[in-house]
Symmetry: C2
Subunit: 147 residues, 2 copies
DNA sequence: CCTAATCCTTACGTTCACGTCAGATTCACA
DNA sequence: TGTGAATCTGACGTGAACGTAAGGATTAGG
């Protein structure tokens, strides 16, 4: 049910130190739960969140500070989810939250699509180069046959 | 015709220090040309090469050491191009060079395609999340109309 | 040919993203 | 209830990827 920092680290493929560091930077909520002992306790959701942070970091190649800015999105969405759970939210407020979340998603999408496009371009170049190399190899193979 | 290190840096959007650093690591040929003065002189080709290094670094998110290994590909291809220019290369040697180049390209492709796939996945997730948010916004818009 | 701009090497400094160690505290469990 | 394992908070260490400063040589332009 509740995981300790070491468990979370293993589940997410990282280390306790990294988790504390991310918390210190504000990439993770400042202290999910701290029973009287002072030890951090996490839920499965926190593991997911951490996995997502790591994934974004690797895929987008941004600094942790930039990532923190981007992750305002996640927090906003978490807030939205939490607030939207209750049915008694004023439609106006609902709209506000959703629009904010949408903006953040849009920013992430732009970043992702930009990188995806660059990668696709690179991939295309590599493919055509490989094609040329293959052709030359075929040419080499044909000569001895015709000779 | 021949560019100095500062020109190359500007053209490639980096600094002289970085160029020297890359040369030191072996990412760039150890010293394109050094007339009696000792100053480095580059050609347009070197600028392209440097741009490519920077591009790969950013897109693949690898360390400079890993990148150096990957760039053995470029050097092999450069060698191939140089050697294939001359028509008097033994077909056997030709084949050898081409196969080597092919192997390097294959490695780059694997890396690129892996990252591209991950990015595509992330993009898909973001798109579907955006879709859901949009839907909820539409729902919000409809209620006042029916009321 | 003279001078400001650029370049050289060497070497120390810096930022990021953690690793690692110390000393004390807390937790799991036999 | 004791005890070994895990966690806590500092604090210092580290590797990667450069930045920056010093002191001297070189080059470009008027």
């Amino acid at each position: 049910m509740s995981l300790r920092i070491g468990d979370v680290a293993k589940l997410a493929g990282t280390t306790p130190r990294t988790i504390r560091y991310y918390e210190e930077l504000g990439l993770l909520p400042q202290a999910p739960e701290r029973p009287s002992g002072g030890h951090r306790l996490y839920s499965e959701d926190e593991v997911e969140r951490l996995r997502e942070v790591i994934r974004l970091k690797e895929l987008l190649g941004v600094t942790l500070q930039e990532l923190k800015a981007l992750l305002a999105a996640e927090e906003a969405r978490a807030a939205v989810r939490a607030e939207l759970q209750r049915e008694d939210v004023a439609p106006e407020r609902r709209r506000e939250l959703l629009l904010e979340a949408q903006g953040h998603i849009e920013r992430q999408l732009e970043l992702v699509e930009h990188r995806a496009a660059e990668l696709a371009k690179l991939r295309g170049e590599l493919l055509s180069t490989r094609g040329r190399v293959r052709e030359r190899l075929r040419e080499l193979d044909e000569i001895p046959v015709s000779a």
